[in-house]
Subunit: 494 residues, 2 copies
């Protein structure tokens, strides 16, 4: 491993030139982000209109990559059959490459162009699909998750191209449109291209998370996720609560009892056995949490949360990163709109998910949850029908901190921000990291650009202009650092 | 009280002529119902588009009444302020009258032209706003609740007019557009017009319920309703379940616990004191339930319910009519759409209602529910904020069975259907009945036209063509019976 004070730093003049180019062209970069945010590329609600938007988004990205000079494949991903029998295409996955020089390292960027649903009526202050800048904040669905970071990488490459500077790395892109819906079809493609597109890749960079504080960060682990639906059905139609209230096992009463049995008031998961496979906390790990930069008061303020379940930094970080959590997302089939409706819903589906940590395994969790819900339901002696399903089961991921891509990322951040990054985990799920590591045996770097208050998945999602533009610089610097470490390794093999 | 075998029956020739006219013009009557169903006059979701539809519906009804020759007032009802500060007009209430002869009795028909929300995506087999006939069933939102019955009354009057027969009663109409939203503004109008429009009214007829079986019915009581919202708030925005799952008091967990504390698995309400004011069951009452015609197997089949909470006819009728019930309607603010969304909702509002029976009083119920929820919530020691509100509190109603309007209704049904009606109650709420009785001291008759399987408030609402057309005849016969009883009473005062 090279020492941080290695003499062969990238030439300062080139770095300055690149950074200046990025600063001068920042309004163009914001304009492109605006065009991308304007596409309502929602993947989790498979309907024809949104599928069209997804296809349009992939075509837009392919065009941008071709303008860089990349060779771009739009790989057909087949189609998905919906529960109602309808068939919709899965958006193609973009595989693109720029440069193929054996002497240079090959860095592959993974990103996604699909977004979570958003509607202004849910509490957005601006149209979620019109990127709107207020006080240096660029508001819009997908601004930080993940369209902004994808463009930051493209901006970095474009700076080299525009300045006619030699790109110090071969660059590959894997861009998909189904990340929010569980990266359908991507795993299969990765397996198929293991000895093809991915064979010469040295490391894979993912920028699909957030910093923990105002300080830049590198991420070395993510939680997995198991997403459950539990349907309780009396009949397909709803009832009038006057005409039938009092003589029915109401599906909502059953469902509320089932969902209420999942956690206690302190957030602890009540599914028997669920904590059995959680890795014990080591002493080294405790030290890592103690060293992490987190201003609790500021975290609370930026999150706009009066009080968390825990009072210390260590407890909070561990419950976000290395313990499982269970969240109830909502209920489909009940009355969810404003106003009053005196309906007894006939069939309702509760949705909840459990974030998984090493060494929890989705099939085991699935069995535990199903057994638990079946026991609670049969205890109610309800005449309704219950069906539990695990719609998604994604394993957690942890990286090796000593790898060269982490060193390169660390230096790039130091160059741009003048500060060391926090080494952190992320409580959310980047299933593709696990797949890259398991299937390809490739190293992964998670280099987040977004600030802690970006609000990914929520109303008023944004990316700061500063994070977007400085992030583009970090990627440019990262290319130079990766090339330098590669060269050093070739001169002095470990 | 006249004996049923009274010699002065209405002339058989006239009855036959009226019935024949109605039979011959039934397709026209269905066509008008189709035009009325096509108006999306939803009152419970106050938005400008639907308010426009409501106003259009009231204008359509006013025009139909004017064609009958009625004098029609559209009484301004003011406006409502929504929680967001927006102001929308409340649809005007129609007061109409036809005939003013002091020798004739005056019957006033109350009906409503607003409907429950409906969307084909909720499971309708046809467009809910396109009346569609399948096997003698007329499917469409509002077909049975309450546009069909309003038109049946108009059809009955139009038969007399078209045949140039003297209308044996003076007829008044009160038609409103806010029934599903709690009859806002109607009570005030009723109070104001007590000595005006309503002064000479002999009885008020309401046809806003359903039969209990395949047998026609008269209804002598309805339950009241208290509609509650309980909001749990952490912050206005949602959270990402990866980024925040594990360290929050999640509002959905609190809300599910609150809603789960309301009833046990057998449907019994767990709010302390709630049963204290329920009238004790008398022996006479028990006999009435035992005598009521209800084929339990058929009821289950038509309701498409595998099993009810109770096994005997008596228990089922008492739990629908004379015991309170609690139904959870849904949750606003959580993820309610198809697909997967890994959101932690930041602010959620549960909606439930309690159907009230004599002698429960809405303000008392409100206090009991609030105390109960506050106790459960404080037991959770959550850092969230809870707010409980009773959005609606409507008292139950019970009628006197010996009144002349019940006798006239009974005879009209016998004439048309050749069978005695069931004397039943209704589990749903017709608040206006209570208002008419309390404020005006007028007698009320509830004469339902719809069949037990009409599905009011649910998907695939319908009215049978037979019920709609024979119902028009029942109203025509009712006019004649009321006139006859009136005449008898004038000759032999009690």
């Amino acid at each position: 491993m090279s020492s941080p004070s290695s003499p062969s730093s990238p030439p300062a003049g080139l770095v300055q030139k690149l950074f200046q180019y990025i600063d001068l062209h920042q309004d163009e970069f914001v304009q492109t982000l605006k065009e991308w945010v304007a596409v309502e590329s929602v993947s989790v609600q498979p309907v024809p209109r949104l599928t069209q938007e997804l296809l349009r988004m992939m075509a837009l990205a392919a065009a941008a990559l071709r303008r860089l000079g990349a060779r771009v494949d739009l790989v057909d991903s087949g189609s998905q059959q919906l529960p109602d029998g309808q068939t919709l295409p899965i958006p193609p996955i973009i595989l693109a490459e720029l440069g193929d020089e054996p002497k240079k390292p090959t860095v592959c960027f993974y990103g996604h162009l699909d977004v979570q649903p958003a509607a202004q009526a849910d509490g957005w202050l601006t149209d979620p699909f019109v990127l709107t800048e207020v006080d240096g904040k660029l508001y819009g669905r997908g601004a930080t998750d993940n369209k902004g970071p994808v463009l930051a990488w493209i901006n970095a490459v474009s700076a080299f191209r525009a300045l006619e500077e030699d790109l110090p790395v071969n660059v590959k892109f894997v861009l998909e449109g189904m990340e929010e819906a569980g990266s359908v079809a991507l795993e299969e493609l990765v397996k198929r291209e293991k000895d093809g597109f991915f064979s010469r890749v040295d490391c894979i960079v993912i920028s699909d998370n957030l910093w923990l504080s105002q300080r830049p960060a590198l991420i070395y682990g993510t939680r997995g996720n198991s997403y459950f639906t539990v349907e309780v059905k009396c009949r397909d139609q709803d009832f009038h609560s006057g005409t039938f209230g009092g003589i029915l096992n109401e599906p909502m009463a059953d469902l509320v009892a089932l969902l209420g049995s999942l956690t206690d008031a302190s957030g602890r998961i009540l599914v028997p056995g669920i904590y059995d496979h959680v890795a014990p906390v080591t002493e080294e790990e405790r030290e890592l949490y103690a060293a992490t930069d987190l201003d609790l008061a500021e975290f609370r303020r930026s999150a706009q949360v009066k009080k968390f379940l825990f009072d210390t930094k260590e407890e909070i970080l561990m419950h976000l990163w290395r313990y499982p959590s269970l969240s109830i997302h909502g209920i489909e089939g009940a009355f969810a709109e404003p106003g009053m409706k005196t309906v007894v819903p006939g069939r309702v589906t509760g949705k909840f998910s459990i974030r998984l940590v090493p060494h929890m395994d989705p099939p085991v969790v699935e069995r535990q949850v199903k057994q638990h819900l079946q026991r609670v339901f049969s205890g109610r002696k309800s005449s309704n029908h219950m069906a539990v399903s695990m719609a998604l089961g994604l394993r957690p991921w942890v990286a090796g901190l000593e790898d060269s891509q982490y060193l390169a990322g660390k230096r790039a951040i130091e160059t741009v921000f003048g500060t060391e990054p926090d080494m952190i985990r992320d409580g959310s799920t980047i299933p593709i990291a696990q797949i890259f590591q398991d299937v390809l045996q490739k190293r992964v770097l998670m280099l987040p650009l977004g600030a802690v208050d970006d609000g990914e998945h929520s109303q008023n999602e944004k990316i700061n202009r500063r994070n977007y533009i400085e992030g583009s610089k970090v990627f440019a610097a990262f290319f130079l650092e990766m090339a330098r470490l590669h060269e050093q390794r070739q001169h002095c093999p470990a």
